[in-house]
Amino acid sequence: MTIDWPILSFLVFSPLVGAAVLLAMPSQRMRLLRWTAIIATLLPLALAIVLYIDYDPSKPGTAYDEQATWISIPLDKTAIGGEATYDLHFDYSLSLDGLSLPLVLLTTIVASMAALASISIRKRWKSYYFWLLVLECGMLGVFLARDLLMFFIFFEITLIPMLFLVGIWGLFDRERAAIRFLLYNGLGSAIMLVVFVILVVTAGFSYEQTAAGMAHFGYSGSYDVIAANLSDPQAYANQFSQAGENPFYLSDTMQTVLFILLLIAFGIKLPIVPFHTWMLDVHKEAPAPVVMIHSGILLKMGAYGLIRFGFFLFPEQADKCSTLLAILGLINLLYGAVIAFRQTELRLVLAYSSLSHMGIVLLGLSALNEIGMQGAVFQLISHGLISALLFLLLGAFYERTSTTKLDELGGLARTMPFMAGALLAAGLASLGLPGLSGFVGELLSLLGVFDSHRVIASIAVVGIILTAVYVLRAVMGVSFGTMHPRFESVKDARFIEALPIVVLLALVVLLGIYPAFVTEQLHHSFDSMLQQLNLRVGG
Amino acid sequence: MTNGGERVNTYMNQYIIVAIFILLGILLPVAALTVGRLLRPHKPTDPKQATYESGNEPVGEGQVRFNVRYYHYALMFVIFDVETVFLYPWAVAYKKLGLFAMVEMLLFAAMLVLGLAYAWKKKVLTWNSI
């Protein structure tokens, strides 16, 4: 089936339609606003499902590729002589491949679930849902954009809604959390922007002879052009010049610098350990549905960017740094696990667990082989679902008990059997119980790493064990043990709460028993990159 | 006046005359006052050296704060006096310049007259007290 209408644009901007409708509504009608928002998130979900079903990995990319000239500025020609045409080119370019597809689906799912879970929001519903939908638009754009500028813009677009969502609807110290979020991520995206700008004016430069004998020069922000130029030894970017008369040359050192800058930029988002403090604040202060999105999707954007721009564009440099990456991943994994073990608050346990799991992603990536990469991406998806589920539950508990302290919570399985059960299941998935999605991601990642960094992989296993310990400690502590008397009367989940729980849980199980659901799609995306790598490193 | 260099020199020489006149202007008072010093008596007393105030004891500072109006006039003067810097060269060259130059100068003067009218209307030109 071929879809000949711009489905990707529809997908990306459909949340905005909902947002626009919301704006027109009276701000006091809470139910109306809520249902509109939920429906608005279902729209992209439906589109994403259609895409997922329709996408055929055997002929990647061709069907879903939307391009239009967005910005095309003619550079001044009289200054140079007027024999050629020059322009600066940024495209409106959306494209789908095996890497983005699962993430898009994940985004739509988690966003819908978050919208459903937003019943705990008590004030200013209109703005809340508005920003939520804008956020979704930004996230979808990030995964689909195939132009550097587009990517950057969507990346930035996610900042503003998050700023408001954390800053207005968060807990007590919300403003501080919001500003830290903004500053850290702003720093990350600024670094990213620097790299992108440099890429556009070097690797983005291309030269072609047009039909009429006129030459055409231009800078392009297109991902494909840049990727092609970087991998093409004949391109300007790779032409070393003695006297520096080639302004487009990107030296090896420069490329490494760019890769490391990208690592930092996306590492802040991911987050990699020294840059993770902002993320704890957000986890601690933001309202539960926002944390679902944050932990479930926003962190994945970092990993996605790292893969797409770091690994795909600079495979050689990634290879050079792979040990460093692996060590970073290991540190993330162990540090997160150890600190999580010592936390007394469920929120923070889960926050550090996110950190720890992102370490696994990094480890998988550092393997630089197909299995490791697949593991990493699978881990992204799986953790997206699991952490969304965990924070959803956390929010539900918090709403009922007004606390997330481990020593105050306890024995909730008695009054809330359904939710406690779900929590247990999610916890088990998180610690990597076979049959649930977490297991597949961790297994594949570690298998990949074993191929390239044996020692590190061995140590990582320790981290996995630690994970099991802290997750069980937390989950058991909440569900079983002695119950505080004031929790006697709390009620179990309502339908509207149970729905997302069930959906997410089902997906976790589905991925656990049928991982090919994702890996099938991923398969083709990594091919070209690994080929490239082998070509350059091996040859 | 045979060549340019000499003309320039003659031109400069006229200023030597001016300088001599200024010198004379300085010399006369200096000489006269010096001569006067030899001739006149010098017997200062306190009452003689007191500030004159119609025979009364001087009250307060002698350098009293004067009306701000004087500044207004100074401002007006600065503006209009500088106008002449442009008027004179224009007038000298007028016969070579033609009608448009007149229009230009008319505009220039009109601006200034506008300023004058403004000051007039804002009662800057009206003198009251002191």
């Binding site: 095309s72 670094i191 004016v201 | 448009f100 009218a117």
Partner: protein, 538 residues
């Protein structure tokens, strides 16, 4: 090489070409008379509307000129009036459009925020409106000069008019003055004006001092001639040439309020009536930047091309250093600022840094659209800054407690609850100022960064990005006040004219952010470096 200036008088045709400026000046004269003749009781808004109309008229005549040129020939030819003292070319025309837009917006907004009977009303309403015109004309003059004398004249016409504008008192100032029981009464506008006069005077002196050396070395004040002469004399007078240009950079730095020459800006902006602050922030900066651009392009660039001489490169680097300094100092010092006007002034300092980056970037095959970068950023800055100032005046206008000077950051407290639409517009301006997409400010910065990167000034790219990030904190403070604080008690009344300006600016900022192509395409279509920027004597 010395040439005798032939006496060249102005002709009617020349007057036609100078119509945009002449309209403004003539209307100013007319309005002065109208103001003098009208009885006191009549509201001076009429003068405001008339001066708005003349700004629009001037705008139309510039557009007409561009169109006329386009009709006549494929490549528009620049005209040099009065011995090339005055250049009618597309570079100038474009910037004139920008300046006139800004001035018109400011005039319109003033009609709302300084309405008779409000606390924003000026003591001298008539003067305010008709002084906007010569100030704008001076700025326009600066953008199309081919000669140092003309440049200086334009600069001073702008400066002197703004000195007066800064010193105008509003009813609020008078009320504050009456209310304060201290011996020293409030004199903020006058104080600001005095500070501006002093710094402005110093800056003119610097610029002139630099110019005088350039004249001495080349025997001409015509920029094209100086440029070509400099390449010849450069070896023998290195020191003097450096000195001349450093003085000029410093002088223009003061005018543009780029750090380290920015110390006056917060004080002056704070004391001046808010629309005047916006005028200084936008029009003065843009005009000075355009003038500096043309100057550098004509004077320094030819020299930097010739091999072996490095003065040009050093000077470009000096401009970049000032730019970098301005960005960093502006943002860093804005961090601790709680007074909105001062905050916007410091943000203006940072933006001045961005604005002058294209001037310092070298110009070669791989990077040739410095002018477009400058123009686009100036346009984006215009809308976001005027918008932000207009919102500030609306918010401050709502507050009438007499002991408070009402431009503190906390005035914005809970603005979203009091005036959601205004707050939303402010969000757009703040995003644009911070350089976040999708806004004109973002693209402006992006293009400048691209320019810097393509000339391999990576350090500058890093500073630009870094200062943007720091500025997030600054601007977040405003957002925090507006959206995350509970409602303030004072209701906000949005005057129709001010509201219109806010929304026009917001819309323009968004349009520049979503579709920057339009403006840039147009600019590149009309403008060509050789014809419109180089002042060659024919």
């Amino acid at each position: 090489m010395a040439y005798e200036r032939t006496l060249q008088s102005m002709t009617w045709a020349d007057a036609g070409h100078m119509a945009p400026e002449l309209i403004l000046i003539a209307m100013m004269a007319l309005l002065i008379i109208v103001d003098l003749v009208l009885p006191r009781r009549i509201d001076r808004s009429i003068i405001g509307w008339l001066s708005l109309a003349s700004l629009i008229g001037s705008f139309v005549s510039v557009v007409w000129h561009i169109q006329d040129q386009a009709d006549q020939s494929q490549e528009s030819i620049a005209l040099g009036l009065l011995n090339d003292n005055y250049r009618i070319d597309d570079f100038g025309a474009m910037f004139k459009l920008l300046l006139l837009t800004a001035a018109a917006l400011i005039a319109l907004w003033s009609l709302g925020s300084m309405k008779r009977g409000t606390r924003g009303q000026l003591d001298h309403q008539g003067e305010y409106y008709y002084l906007l015109l010569p100030a704008t004309a001076g700025a326009m003059l600066m953008t199309s000069t081919g000669d140092l004398i003309t440049l200086y004249t334009g600069l001073e016409l702008l400066s002197i008019s703004t000195y007066v504008l800064v010193g105008l008192r509003t009813k609020r100032d008078v009320a504050l003055q009456a209310a304060s029981s201290e011996e020293k009464v409030s004199a903020k506008p006058a104080e600001a004006a005095f500070k501006y006069v002093v710094t402005g005077g110093i800056s003119s002196a610097f610029i002139l001092f630099g110019m005088s050396y350039l004249y001495g070395l080349t025997g001409s004040t015509h920029v094209g001639e100086i440029g070509s002469m400099l390449t010849q004399t450069v070896d023998s007078f290195r020191g003097l040439i450096y000195m001349a240009f450093f003085f000029m950079i410093a002088g223009f730095g003061i005018k543009i309020a780029a750090a380290p020459f920015h110390a006056w800006a917060p004080d002056v902006y704070e004391g001046a009536p808010t629309p005047v602050s916006a005028f200084l922030a936008v029009i003065s900066k843009a005009a000075a930047a355009a003038a500096l651009f043309r100057l550098f392009y004509n004077l320094v660039f030819p020299e930097s091309l010739s091999n072996g001489n490095t003065i040009g490169h050093d000077l470009f680097r000096a401009v970049l250093a000032v730019a970098a300094c301005a960005m960093l100092v502006g943002t860093l010092s804005a961090l601790r600022q709680h007074n909105m006007k001062r905050l916007l002034a410091l943000s203006g300092v940072a933006n001045a840094g961005y604005l002058i980056v294209p001037i310092g970037l070298s110009f070669y095959g791989a990077h040739s659209n410095n002018a477009a970068e400058l123009f686009f950023y100036a346009a984006a800055y215009l809308f976001m800054n005027i918008g932000a100032f207009a919102v500030l005046s609306i918010v401050a206008g709502a507050r009438d407690s007499e002991s408070d000077d009402s431009v503190q950051l906390r005035t914005f407290e809970g603005l979203y609850h009091r005036a959601p639409w205004t707050a939303s517009a402010m969000i757009i301006f703040v995003l644009s100022l911070a350089g976040l997409p999708i806004s004109g400010g973002f693209f402006g910065k992006l293009f400048i960064m691209m320019g810097a990167a393509s000339t391999h000034a990576y350090w500058l790219v890093a500073i630009m990005a870094g200062s943007s990030v720091i500025s997030y904190y600054v601007y977040f403070g405003i957002v925090r006040q507006m959206f995350m604080r509970s409602s303030g008690d004072v209701s906000v009344h949005v005057p129709a004219a001010s509201g219109t300006v806010v929304w026009l600016c917001a819309a323009a900022t968004l349009v520049l952010g979503v579709y920057p192509n339009g403006l840039l395409h147009w600019f590149e279509h009309v403008f060509s470096v050789v014809n419109d920027l180089l002042v060659l004597r024919r």
